[in-house]
């Protein structure tokens, strides 16, 4: 294991190298582009043998990755934002095929209007697609989860694709200390690829022709069962990762609790701002306020048991969303958490913030948490750390 100062994107690329990925379909989009550039560079230098298909769109990036996976090799791709939305059709197709594929999403706002900065809406918008969905909170975790993703998705009890989210720029472009496992360690953790079926002339099966209604529905239920069942497998593989790779983090649970046990108040969130939130929690703790944090690491499977257990007995829970679910009131995380604990926690409040790159740092989080502990009137608020600049309001125009 060596320690290096690298960015989240470089960490992911090294994970792909260590996982001995056979084929990757690549297409650039900010902020994940440096992942695929690094892969291309490593290939040009002969450091990896991965076949790189430089496709003409994200739809094709997922299609090429899918084809390679069906052909019997480990397959990877990365995307973000509009790219993720553009491959949406193929994301569902891959999940339906039940063939293991791994993708990293460098999260970014979705247009219109254009905005290249971080938010989670692109990622959360795929939450019903049948993929296992993990979200990193630092570059180390992005590497760890990428490696675990291959193992999890290729487990015969799972056989589902898996995507790993990572805050665009905030993690993708931050250079920081990352422990990079040795190839032998990874080889011991990650056995050669297994998949439920392979498409090749040795076995002339068909994939994906018409399934009649009941058969189709049974397949859908199978995805749901495999995805829900994956909770135990993720923990099992996480424990093995802890043991064999000995990382900085602990992967024996799906989600990560911080100072929650004796807490009266709990914050729930996902992604990089967990770091700043922990600092804010510490500051409030110093003032005698019993507050803790739950970081959602797996959006799918959604561990109802773990989350209920972590948040039971809390006086109030505040969910921070860096994404939107327009018209619902609150973001997707708020909706999920509320539906999970509304019968055991009297107050579940939500804050939507950090959209489109809005920076929410420790002092702003402190402000939000203080307000929350004092008692929020509204169920959900949209929080702006700074004044919103001028936006033109327009009166409707009658068209003749």
């Amino acid at each position: 294991m060596i320690r290096k100062i690298i960015s989240g994107n470089e960490a992911v690329a090294l994970g792909v190298k260590l996982a001995r990925v056979g084929v990757t379909g690549i297409y650039p989009i900010t902020p994940q582009t440096t992942i695929i550039e690094k892969l291309a560079e490593m290939r040009a230098k002969g450091e990896i043998e991965t076949e790189i298909v430089r496709v003409e769109s994200e739809h094709s990036a997922m299609a090429a990755t899918f084809g390679a996976a069906l052909g019997g090799v480990r397959a990877f791709t990365a995307t973000a934002s509009q790219g993720l939305l553009y491959m949406h059709e193929m994301i569902w197709w891959v999940a339906g095929s039940r063939v293991p594929v791994v993708m990293v999403v460098g999260t970014r706002a979705v247009g219109a209007p254009w905005n290249i900065w971080n938010e989670h809406t692109d990622f959360t918008s795929e939450r019903d697609s049948g993929w296992i969905m993990a979200f990193a909170s630092n570059p180390q975790e992005a590497l760890d989860l990428t490696l675990q993703a291959f193992r999890i998705s290729e487990d015969e009890r799972v056989f589902l694709p898996m995507m790993v989210g990572m805050d665009g720029f905030i993690l993708s472009h931050t250079k920081t200390n990352v422990l990079i496992p040795d190839q032998d360690q990874v080889d011991e953790f990650l056995p050669p690829r297994r998949q439920p079926y392979v498409i090749d002339p040795e076995d002339p099966i068909g994939m994906g022709n018409i399934f009649p209604p009941e058969g189709y529905m049974r397949l859908r239920e199978s995805i749901d069962l495999a995805l829900r069942n994956s909770e135990n497998i993720i923990k099992e593989i996480g424990r093995e990762y802890n043991k064999k790779i000995n990382p900085l983090g602990d992967y024996s649970t799906l989600n990560v609790s911080y100072k929650l046990e004796d807490a009266d108040y709990a914050i729930v969130l996902m992604g990089a701002w967990a770091g700043d939130a922990m600092e804010a929690v510490d500051t409030l703790r110093e003032k005698g306020i019993k507050i803790g944090m739950l970081r959602i690491r797996y959006l799918r499977p959604w561990s109802e048991k773990e989350i209920r257990n972590a948040l039971k007995d809390k006086r109030a829970v505040l969910v921070l969303d860096r994404s939107t679910s327009f018209g619902r009131g609150g973001g997707p995380l708020y909706v999920e958490v509320k539906s999970t604990i509304s019968d055991i926690v009297p107050q579940v409040k939500g804050v939507v913030s950090g959209l489109g790159g809005v920076t929410v740092n420790k002092s702003e989080l402190l402000y939000i948490f203080n307000k929350f502990v004092e008692g929020l009137k509204d169920d959900v608020i949209w929080y702006y750390p700074k004044e919103v600049g001028k936006i033109e309001f327009r009166t409707p125009r009658d068209i003749e």
Binding site: R3, K4, I5, P31, I116, W117, N138, D167, F169, I170, L171, H173, T174, K175, T176, N177, L248, A272, W273, A274, G275, D276, M278, E279, G357, T359, V360, N361, K362, S363
Partner: protein, 184 residues
């Protein structure tokens, strides 16, 4: 934890400077993180980059708002930037690329990195490349990381002739800074 904020213009290597500092600190088994604010990446536009160095793992991911050290790579920003001094604490220190000592309300060091770069012939697309040179001054003032770690990071990043010139420049800045010392 030390928090450092770099200011400069697009094309001056502001981001590279913050990354090299992080890498140098990394060689000394310190925890570190460095990242830029992305968006206005045009050549000439004002750019910020951040670096944190700590003995413990760094959890914060947001931009440095209250820097311990402020590095100004382009001193013309003193006149035009609205963001330059934001969040500075009484205890903050400024490291400036400038031929003369400006009158500022903080502990300030300056080094004429532009002259060092020009003398060495470190010029890219018409601009003297001062970003790495000024790091020599910064680490001297901060006390960490060691000059040898910085040199290792420079070698790793550039290699060859460019690394050699940058290392020379950083050493000169390391020696020259502190000759003039300004207090508020």
């Amino acid at each position: 934890m030390l928090e450092i904020r770099f200011h400069g213009r697009g094309g001056q290597g502001v981001v590279t400077a913050s990354q090299l500092l992080a890498e140098a600190a990394g060689y000394e088994n310190l925890y570190t993180s460095s990242f830029p604010i992305y968006g206005a990446e045009r050549r000439g536009a004002e750019i910020e980059a951040y670096c944190r160095i700590s003995e413990n793992p760094i959890r914060v991911t947001s931009p440095v708002e209250e820097p311990d050290y402020l590095v100004v790579i382009d001193n013309s920003l003193l006149q035009i930037s609205r963001n330059l001094f934001r969040g500075l604490k009484d205890t903050s220190t400024i490291i400036l690329n400038s031929p003369s000592k400006p009158d500022l309300n903080w502990r300030t060091f300056h080094v004429n990195a532009t002259k060092i770069a020009t003398d060495l012939g470190l010029v890219k697309s018409g601009w003297p490349m001062v970003n790495v040179i000024i790091l020599g001054a910064l680490i001297r003032v901060m006390g960490i990381p060691k000059l040898s770690s910085l040199e290792q990071a420079i070698e790793e990043e550039f290699g060859g002739k460019i690394a050699e010139l940058n290392i020379k420049g950083a050493r000169l800045a390391y020696e020259q800074v502190g000759v003039e010392y300004v207090t508020a």
